[in-house]
């Protein structure tokens, strides 16, 4: 009997664990180690953050689902990896520290034959002075979104009698996940209109993108009205239409009560006052350590300096001009330890997708690569497939999920409402541009599309129910695509 251990129970980890267990049956063991007791459909946190959904609508307890699936669930955080075992333990293992199941604080060694790192990001609020002091809010978790809505409603109340300033965007020059902030600013604007207080709100966008519509993937080009046009034009159009001002190319370097300070790509410094601010923090690896048999620290062999796990990517591509689509990992297998894989946000990208830029002062200001739900789930499923095949005798991974060979469908809400809601429904293929295969814009224009409307909102709402259904392993869950 082989044992697969999955560290992390988010979109990619949950997908990997549930498919692996389905394919392996009771013949082999699947263990999930996650510090969370609940699964969260993160894309709907936006609606929790404006009071259109409750926390209970976007989360559900994991224990029952894993018990039904026959998955060994440990509510614990992974602390370290010991790929060669230790002097006392011959087998490879990870150490975990329980966060629930009435074992809080207890540590344990969990041996594995195959290991998937799907730990997601550490929300690195500490990277910007003041960002961790509670002056601003975030929508990165369901609890954060609940808190964001509480603060937002206070500002909405005040806006009934006097002007209020709202600032939404990224809280550091190296952030990713601009999409979540994009959805939040438009949902706030939509809710403000519904509440009749829009005229009393100054709503401003601040982000590290060098142009609106970059989204951490260098923007994209769409065929519209006989032209192939940049996403910059469509994003600027939407912000202008909804009367939202923007500050771009900004590294927020300090947050105080009611004020942020930032540096722009041209080196100038600025500041913005706010009554309510939602700033996404930068992401980092969760801080896992690795040790060899003698207990020596080998973290640098397995992890990149930013804490994300090294996989089969080309980490020596160098300058932007040398980047190729083939730099991106395909099997997501660690090059040193062939029984370790990393999926979703946990793998170390070979380089950003957006062009790196810095101010004359040397401050790096550009988005890091996004890894949204669809690519993350596809990676989880592909790696699960490979491991199942390897357990059954394959000598190497049999499936691939490469971000420069896969597309992504992304639906960004711009306001909720069955008849009044809108969302930008986008498809992009491939996620990472391939300028050799698609000279000029780097992507297949016939498969890279975008439009805003009520249909997009219906799709986003439908996906909310569909993916929670799928994650709960309800009948037909395997038929719902990643």
């Amino acid at each position: 009997m082989a044992r697969l251990v999955v560290m992390g129970g988010g979109v990619s980890g949950h997908t990997a664990a549930t498919f692996a267990k389905k394919w392996l049956g009771n013949e082999h063991e699947v263990v999930v180690v996650t510090p969370n007791s609940q699964w969260n459909w993160i894309p709907s946190n936006i609606w929790v953050g404006v009071g259109e959904m409750k926390k209970e609508d976007v989360v559900f307890p994991l224990a029952g689902v894993y018990a039904k699936a026959g998955i060994d669930y440990r509510q614990a955080k992974a602390v370290s990896i010991h790929p060669n075992g230790s002097e006392k333990n011959e087998k490879a293992f990870i150490t975990i520290e329980y966060t629930g199941q009435n074992k809080e604080g207890q540590t344990e060694e969990v041996t594995y034959d195959y290991l998937i790192n799907a730990t997601g990001p550490k929300l690195n609020f500490g990277a910007t002075p003041g960002l961790d002091q509670g002056y601003t809010v975030s929508v990165c978790t369901a609890d954060h979104a609940v808190h964001a809505n509480e603060e937002l409603q206070k500002v909405f109340e005040k806006a009934k009698t006097k002007k209020q300033k709202i600032l939404i965007g990224t809280g550091h020059g190296m952030c990713t996940c601009q999409g979540a902030a994009f959805e939040y600013i438009f949902n706030i604007e939509h809710e403000a209109k519904k509440a009749g207080i829009r005229d009393n709100l100054d709503i401003k966008w601040i982000s590290n993108e060098s142009f609106l519509g970059d989204f951490g993937m260098g923007g994209m080009h769409l065929n519209v009205g006989g032209y192939t046009a940049s996403s910059k034009i469509f994003a600027e159009s939407l912000y202008s239409e909804r009367k939202l001002e923007w500050v771009i190319g900004a590294h927020v370097n300090k947050v105080e009560a009611g004020k942020v300070y930032y540096e722009l790509l041209d080196g100038t410094m600025g500041e913005e006052e706010f009554d309510f601010a939602m700033l996404i923090p930068p992401f980092a690896g969760v801080g896992l350590k690795a040790f060899n048999k003698n207990g020596e620290d080998i973290t640098a062999d397995i992890f990149a300096p930013n804490g994300f796990m090294k996989v089969d990517a080309n980490y020596n591509a160098g300058a932007y001009e040398n980047w190729k689509a083939s730099d991106w990992p395909r099997t997501l297998q660690n090059p040193t330890y062939q029984n370790i894989f990393a999926v979703g946000i946990a793998f170390a990208p070979p380089h950003p997708i957006s062009k790196p830029m810095s101010s004359p002062n040397g401050t790096q200001i550009f988005p890091t690569p996004p890894r949204t739900g669809m690519p993350s789930a596809m990676m989880g499923k592909a790696v699960a497939h490979s491991i199942v095949d390897m357990i059954r005798g394959a000598s190497q991974p049999t499936h691939t999920a490469c971000m420069s060979e896969m597309g992504a469908a992304c639906v960004a809400s711009a306001g909720k409402g069955f008849f009044t809601g809108t969302a930008a429904a986008m498809t992009v293929y491939p996620v990472v541009p391939d300028f050799e295969k698609y000279p000029g814009v780097g992507r297949d224009i016939s498969m890279t599309t975008g439009e805003i409307g009520l249909a997009g909102h219906w799709i986003k709402h439908l996906l909310h129910f569909a993916f929670i259904w799928k994650a709960k392993l309800k009948p037909g869950w395997t038929l719902i695509p990643e």
């Binding site: 600027e236 239409e241 691939t400 992504a408 498969m447 409307g453 219906w458």
Partner: protein, 55 residues
């Protein structure tokens, strides 16, 4: 006479350098019949994308 949908744009502001949807374009965004058609079309596009992405 200025078009209503452009009244809030300030000359020479960043907003003035972009395109603003007309009243008809905005109407289409929430027109249930048109959006139902788009719902089908977008779902077909996304399905094709998913099929192309799975290896």
């Amino acid at each position: 006479m200025a078009a209503k949908h452009m009244e809030h744009i300030q000359p020479y502001s960043p907003q003035a350098g972009t395109m603003i949807p007309t009243k008809f374009r905005k109407f289409l965004r929430t027109c249930v019949i048109w959006q139902f058609i788009r719902f089908i079309a977008i779902n077909i596009k996304m399905t094709l994308l998913i099929l192309k992405s799975h290896h």
